[in-house]
């Protein structure tokens, strides 16, 4: 797993209080990992902080699963 993927997983485990085994690429933040709308906003902000990127709202809307977050950040992280 890439360094970015490791960090993304760690942030999700910390913020959503879930087990590492649940954080699969297909796992949806809201449907599988118990996030509500505010949790999702917080996750996106943590990604922005950790990877020093700014994720526009219209793109953030497309980040709904662990895998989507990893691929977005692998593409955009500085």
């Amino acid at each position: 797993m890439s360094e970015i993927a490791e960090k993304v997983k760690a942030i999700i485990i910390d913020k959503l209080g879930v087990e590492a085994s649940e954080v699969t690429p297909e796992a949806s933040f809201t449907n599988d990992l118990g996030a509500d709308s505010l949790d999702t906003v917080e996750l996106i902000m943590e990604f922005e902080k950790e990877f020093n990127v700014s994720i526009p709202d219209d793109q953030a809307e497309n980040i709904g699963t662990v895998g989507q977050a990893i691929s977005y950040l692998e593409e955009h992280a500085k």
Binding site: L16, G17, L38, V41, E42
Partner: protein, 415 residues
């Protein structure tokens, strides 16, 4: 329309003396001080470096980490105290549409506000405010979270009147039940202001004791050498319930809430009126509402914060209202032990009054070393040791910055 009667059917507390209502009472009657050096932050550069913290508090022992993180510590305290009171009252079977939550907090989520502002100031100007910041900070998140947790759908709000906040929440709860707008209200108050901004702010007001060499002796209401209040934190909760409703479900009844009074000093934003006119008025208002005379009162749990001006003004007011009967009263300031919980003070002191009635023991004003010549020596301030006494009627006074005065009166239950 006749007003309905209101009784207390549940108690809860998390305080500097103990993390449940029974543990709190143990500390009160033993005359223990809750003051110690501050552990929450590095206070080495502060004028006051001690406070009455809730000891060994770890939110993880009460909440899943993810849940606890979304609440300011003042809301965590609120939930812990309310949970205990709700369990104590055994509310499982009641109609949740008729249960309200009316809480009190003087400030709200100061820790969260401070942390977010510091994080912003340390950044490059990009706003990265946490989405939970506002819901954590706002004072009404306490009542909101209690209702969400227990599905109580009755009236729900928070009262804010500085250090009178949770006496005002108790009176509001009392009124909503009296007026048939709810059958049960979970009330109380909480505060958690032992932060850099809280301690620094109160130091700037010259309101807090700076007795750093003897923290446990710093809160000394009515002592000649008193030099300010000691900041406390925590929460207490009371389940208030309509009398017939409580009887019908066989609830344990601690006491009846028989009256509440409110007034304003209309004098100064932080200094008390030296004549105590607003304080005279509030006690008269409470006695009138309760339909009793001054001679009926056995015990007054005073506001008595240990400030040079405030303590004297309140005693003067008590003597004006109670006349000769003032000498027959037990008077005590439990802030000598708990410190000053600000918006939580009214609630923890109401609980102290109710437990004093239940046990017929008056908790003391500890740390009395030197008589204050300005205070009438014939008054019984219950100095240093708890006193046994049949307590049928107890009054609790709280006053807040802004000149808010509130007084509530409890009586042992009778038909």
């Amino acid at each position: 329309m006749s007003l309905r009667r209101v009784v207390v059917t549940g108690l809860g507390a998390i305080t500097p003396l103990g993390k449940t209502a029974p543990a709190y009472w143990e500390g009160l009657q033993a005359g223990v001080s809750g003051a110690a050096p501050i552990t929450r932050f590095d206070a080495s550069k502060f004028k006051t470096r001690f406070a009455c913290e809730v000891k060994d508090y770890n939110p993880d022992s009460y909440f899943p980490t993810k849940e606890g993180r979304k609440m300011d510590i003042f809301t965590q305290f609120a939930l812990i105290a309310a949970d205990e009171a709700i369990q104590d009252a055994k509310l499982e079977g009641v109609d949740k549409d008729r249960v309200g939550v009316i809480w009190g907090s003087g400030i709200g989520g100061l820790t969260s506000l401070q942390a977010e502002c510091i994080a912003f100031a340390n950044g490059d100007g990009t706003p990265r405010f946490n989405p939970f910041f506002i819901p954590k900070m706002i004072a009404d998140s306490a009542s909101g979270n209690i209702s969400i947790r227990h599905k109580f759908r009755g009236p729900n709000f928070v009262t804010t009147s500085a250090c009178a906040s949770s006496s005002d929440s108790i009176i509001s709860a009392f009124n909503y039940i009296r007026l048939n707008m709810a059958d049960v209200v979970v009330t109380g108050g909480s505060e958690a202001a032992i932060t850099e901004s809280g301690v620094g702010g109160f130091n700037a007001l010259k309101a807090m004791s700076e007795r750093n060499d003897a923290p446990e002796q710093a809160s000394r209401p009515y002592d000649k050498e008193r030099d300010g209040f000691v900041l406390g934190e925590g929460a207490a909760s009371l389940v208030l319930e309509e009398y017939e409703h409580a009887k019908a479900r066989g609830a344990k009844i601690y006491a009846e809430l028989i009256g509440g009074g409110m007034s304003a000093d209309a004098y100064h934003i932080t200094a008390p009126d030296p004549e105590g006119n607003g304080v005279v008025l509030v006690m008269q208002n409470a006695l009138r509402d309760a339909g009793i005379t001054p001679a009926d009162v056995d015990y007054i749990n005073t506001h008595g914060t240990s400030t040079p001006l405030g303590d004297g003004a309140e005693v003067k007011a008590i003597q004006k209202v109670f006349g000769e009967h003032a000498y027959d009263l037990n008077i005590s300031s439990t802030k000598s032990m708990t410190g000053h919980l600000l918006g939580g003070a009214g609630a923890i002191e109401a609980v102290a009054c109710i437990l004093a009635m239940q046990h017929n023991i008056v908790p003391p004003t500890i740390n009395h070393f030197t008589d204050d010549p300005e205070l009438d020596p014939k008054l019984n301030f219950t100095f240093n040791k708890a006193q046994e006494r049949e307590v049928n009627v107890a009054m609790s006074n709280t006053f807040g910055f802004g000149g808010h005065n509130t007084s509530v009166i409890f009586r042992k239950i009778r038909d």
